[in-house]
Amino acid sequence: MPDNWGFVLAAYGLAAGVLLAYWRFLARRERDLRGAAERNRIAPVSGHPGPEPASRTPRA
């Protein structure tokens, strides 16, 4: 029965790739957030009452 190591490596390689990508996705999002938080602390956006949101029921 041929060992098909190629398929085994493909499966594990794909799994490792996907999991790593997801880990990096989480790390990147966290870094972006921390960056944004700093920018907010340095120059906070001036609070002013914008327009009232549309009423809750959707218009057809």
Binding site: R56, T57, P58, A60
Partner: protein, 222 residues
């Protein structure tokens, strides 16, 4: 229960006055027949094998159209908040809407069945009662989740897209069961032979209606 009945009464009255949904669905059913013929070729023998699938495909497509409009009358008349503000538990509204949808679905399915029998030269005579059981069980499951998801997507911007995307995967087991059961019934086998499929459909009905009744309050809150 009177409260559920008044919801059905109102929906039927609005439907009788505006006649929008039923006409559209009838016309859509006819259209489906032509599309099946054109796309799958006229010779009937080849289609015979896939007939149960075609029948339920037509039911599902019609269902998507019909169920998707469950709360259109509330949205167009701006009565959504009115439903929310009327005191008393909201599952009566769900039961009312579900009953209305069930009626609508069964009427359209009956029409489709006649059209199928006519176009595909089916003699349904013997199998009709058994078929009715299968269609009934399947449609209840379909309408129960459809009504709940219609309420959920009624206020979302991309509702025409979201409703089928959410409903169809959930309906996969019901579709498998109904097509398999219909196939057996059309081949003349007794209902007993598909008892396990019917048990699954009955279980699905109970589960979906119960979940619908219990969670409808949270969905109506909008």
């Amino acid at each position: 229960m009177r409260r559920a009945f008044i919801v059905v009464w109102k929906d039927l009255l609005v439907e009788r006055r505006s006649k929008e949904t039923l006409n559209a669905l009838f016309f859509f059913a006819l259209l489906l027949l032509f599309i099946f013929q054109f796309s799958l070729g006229p010779d009937r023998e080849r289609l015979a094998g896939t007939l149960p699938g075609l029948l339920w495909l037509a039911f599902i497509l019609n269902g998507l159209l019909g169920l998707g409009r469950t709360f259109v009358v509330e949205r167009e008349n701006d009565c959504w908040e009115g439903l929310l503000l009327s005191p008393g538990d909201k599952s009566a509204i769900y039961v009312g809407k579900l009953a209305g949808n069930l009626l609508l679905m069964l009427v359209v399915e009956a029409i489709l069945l006649v059209l199928f029998a006519f176009f595909f030269n089916l003699d349904l005579g013997g199998a009709l009662p058994a078929l009715a059981v299968v269609i009934g069980l399947g449609t209840v499951a379909f309408a129960a989740v459809g009504t709940l998801f219609a309420a959920m997507t009624a206020q979302v911007r991309a509702r025409e897209l979201l409703f089928p995307v959410l409903l169809l995967p959930v309906q996969a087991p019901v579709l498998l069961a109904t097509v398999k059961a219909t196939e057996a019934v059309l081949l003349g086998e007794p209902l007993g032979s598909v008892a396990h499929w019917l048990k699954l459909l009955a279980a699905a009905d109970v589960v979906y209606v119960a979940v619908g009744v219990l969670t409808f309050d949270f969905v109506l809150e909008g």
